[in-house]
């Protein structure tokens, strides 16, 4: 058989790219980038499979590796912390040059063996794949290797169970139920806790950020509606300053439009009772 020109071109395009991507595995600092490199290699591998008359394996490669295995990798990366960039400084003395040497040596040995070995003339899979590649594969897999396949099935089930067992976290304290939480809240009432959820931060015409307190029924800002962290950091904004800024803006707009008349048909849906409400709703409109 002969290799078609298209395949040759495909190979010479893909092979350097795949090699580069694989080298990225060694050199990139972030694990996520490494995962993307590997994904590229695997997709390229799938394409090469298809080109090599192994269309079934090509599909399986995409489904299993890029679809399942690499997704699993990404999940674990997210669990571990996707931001972490690895330091590439070597800590084990001599490991770096040893690794480089061994990698290059291994490549040299393998390439040497390949170049030294004499292969029979390529037969090609046209004949074997006459009944289509999946059928040909199935005939071998389910006839000659049926026992191995079943064993591998068992292995998969076992591995799945192993994954469950290994990542299972044993509970070391009794489970906290709704009832426990409710009881705790009621018990904490004397310390100033409330039964209801805390009020949400304020929502204003131009501002609905977490750092601005809401206004209470009496128009006073509710400090505890701002998340505690922001308050402690001193990042909470003052509600009155926001209101004042909005009011001055509204006033300027109205003056520009010549509509200095007060807003008569104010809908009284909210609990907001001060003048800010008018300005606010006017702005909404």
């Amino acid at each position: 058989m002969t290799v078609s020109g298209g395949e040759t071109a495909l190979f010479w395009v893909l092979a350097p790219l795949m090699t580069l991507a694989a080298l990225g595995l060694i050199f990139v600092r972030r694990a996520v980038h490494a995962a993307i490199c590997v994904m590229f290699v695997m997709v390229g591998m799938a394409i090469l499979y298809v080109a090599q008359e192994a269309s079934f394996l090509g599909v399986v490669q995409v489904v299993v590796y890029t679809g399942a295995v690499m997704m699993l990798f990404l999940f674990v990366l997210m669990l571990v912390g996707i931001d972490a960039a690895d330091s590439l400084t070597e800590t084990i003395r001599g490991q770096r040059w040893l690794g480089v040497l061994l990698g290059l040596g291994l490549a040299a040995v393998l390439l040497g063996v390949i170049s030294a070995a004499t292969f029979p003339p390529a037969v090609g899979l046209a004949e074997a794949n006459a009944v289509t590649n999946p059928v040909a594969l199935a005939r071998v897999l389910l006839a000659d290797y049926v026992l191995a396949m079943e064993v591998v099935g068992v292995l998969l089930v076992t591995a799945a169970l192993a994954g469950l067992v290994l990542t299972h976290r044993r509970r070391i304290s009794p489970k906290v139920t709704q009832r426990d939480l409710a009881r705790e809240r009621v018990a904490a009432l004397p310390q100033g806790r409330t039964l209801t959820p805390l009020p949400a931060p304020g929502v204003y015409a131009q501002n609905n950020a977490m750092d601005t307190p809401a206004l209470g029924p009496d128009g006073a800002p509710l400090e505890h509606s701002v998340p505690r962290v922001l308050r402690i950091r001193g990042q909470a904004r003052s509600a009155t300053a926001v209101l004042a800024a909005e009011e001055s803006l509204v006033a300027r707009e109205l003056a520009d439009a010549g509509l200095l008349t007060a807003d008569a048909d104010a809908d009284d849906d909210g609990a907001r009772a001060d003048g800010a409400r008018d300005a606010h709703q006017g702005e909404e409109r």
Partner: protein, 99 residues
């Protein structure tokens, strides 16, 4: 083009995967290196299947994939466990074998 070019590519990828295992400290990246090595062998299997005109090579590659999938499940579970215990995914931190 000769089919042995595929084998050469497989060899290079395998060596790169091995070097990754030796050089990287992040357990997940090391694991990716292992996957890369497995894939390189798969490519060699597929190429040999084509050279010999026998799909058995592809069947073997298929088995490798399945076993690799199982291995990934268990391996990643172990990594997660180690991370939980040590707050680190570095293989160098797991050196209790040291005397």
């Amino acid at each position: 083009m000769e089919l042995t070019n595929y084998l050469g590519l497989a060899a290079v990828l395998f060596a790169v995967g091995a070097a990754t295992v030796l050089l990287r400290r992040n357990a997940i990246v090391v694991f990716m290196g292992v996957e890369l090595m497995l894939n390189a062998t798969n490519l060699a299997f597929v190429t040999f299947a084509r050279i010999h005109g026998d799909v058995t090579g592809q069947v073997l590659a298929f088995f490798v994939m399945v076993v690799a999938a199982a291995e990934v499940v268990v391996g990643l579970a172990i990594i997660v466990m180690i991370f939980r215990a040590r707050r680190s995914a570095s293989v160098d931190d797991v050196n209790l074998l040291q005397s």
